[in-house]
């Protein structure tokens, strides 16, 4: 539809001061897209290779244990956790809670920090177990 250029638009991204809530919002979407593409491909490959016999599964494991495989694995773990914590945060926001400035900032930062910390904990556990 045609827009009357004489009339102002409502404020958009460029006018707002960047904050953790905006970072979590766009990261949540980006991580969701990553999980739905790379994550789904990885988990489907894992299942299909396990159903295709030992040689196919070993080929999958070889890729998973390569440097690229580990980088993708750590990335997917972080993506899952960020999407997880951001999703839980959304349940509260959907109920109308957590919009006060300080609470909102605290929970947005917690979402980011929680994802980083738990990703680190999981991969330290994996490294310690020698999987």
């Amino acid at each position: 539809m045609a827009r009357n250029t004489a009339r102002p638009l409502s404020p958009h991204l460029q006018i707002y001061k960047w904050g953790p809530h905006m970072a979590v919002s766009i990261l949540n979407r980006a991580m969701g897209v990553g999980l739905a593409t790379v994550g789904i491909a990885a988990i489907t490959w894992w299942l299909v290779s396990a159903a295709s016999g030992e040689a196919a599964y070993d080929a999958f494991l070889k890729c998973a244990h390569s440097w690229l495989g580990i980088v993708v694995g750590v990335g997917l773990t972080f993506a899952w956790l960020l999407h997880f914590f951001a999703g839980v945060r959304h349940f509260f926001l959907d109920a109308g809670a957590g919009f006060e400035l300080n609470a909102n900032r605290t929970w947005a930062w917690s979402t980011l920090l929680g994802a980083v910390i738990v990703t680190g904990a999981i991969w330290l556990f994996i490294a310690g177990k020698g999987l």
């Binding site: 969701g32 789904i40 396990a50 159903a51 295709s52 599964y57 556990f125």
Partner: protein, 127 residues
């Protein structure tokens, strides 16, 4: 309602009356994912190893195969809803119809491979 033909109104604006259902299903599947993704990650971390024999023996058990099927159904449904919203935000016009077709193909194609593989391991048994 505004003026114009029915087709014109639909093209211009107005809801298709299914937005809140889509939104609600996104939340319902999200709650399912809270349980199922934690189950999957914790189960894998608790396995003594992730070699072929260990993983297929584990996946052949009903207590792993059934939650795994539920995970695939629930997670794939959730990502299908989510990617649709992303595509609707960024892809316009005729390309959007193509994108929706590809999204369907991706969801059901990968979903079929994933489900078949779980069931094959569970029913055929590798040990």
């Amino acid at each position: 309602m505004g003026s114009g033909t029915g087709l014109g109104q639909v093209r211009g604006l107005g809801s298709a009356k299914s937005g809140s259902h889509h939104w609600w299903l996104q939340r319902v599947t999200a709650m399912g994912n809270v349980v199922l993704t934690v189950w999957l990650v914790v189960s894998l971390l608790r396995l003594p190893a992730i070699d072929y024999a260990t993983v297929t023996t584990w996946l052949a058990s009903p207590w792993a195969a059934v939650p795994m099927v539920l995970f695939v159904l629930n997670a794939f449904w959730h990502f299908r809803l989510g990617l649709q919203v992303v595509l609707e935000d960024y892809v316009k016009g005729g390309l959007r119809i193509v994108a929706m077709g590809l999204l369907h193909a991706w969801t059901f194609g990968m979903g079929a491979f994933a489900l078949f593989s779980i069931l094959k391991i569970a029913f055929a048994g590798t040990n």
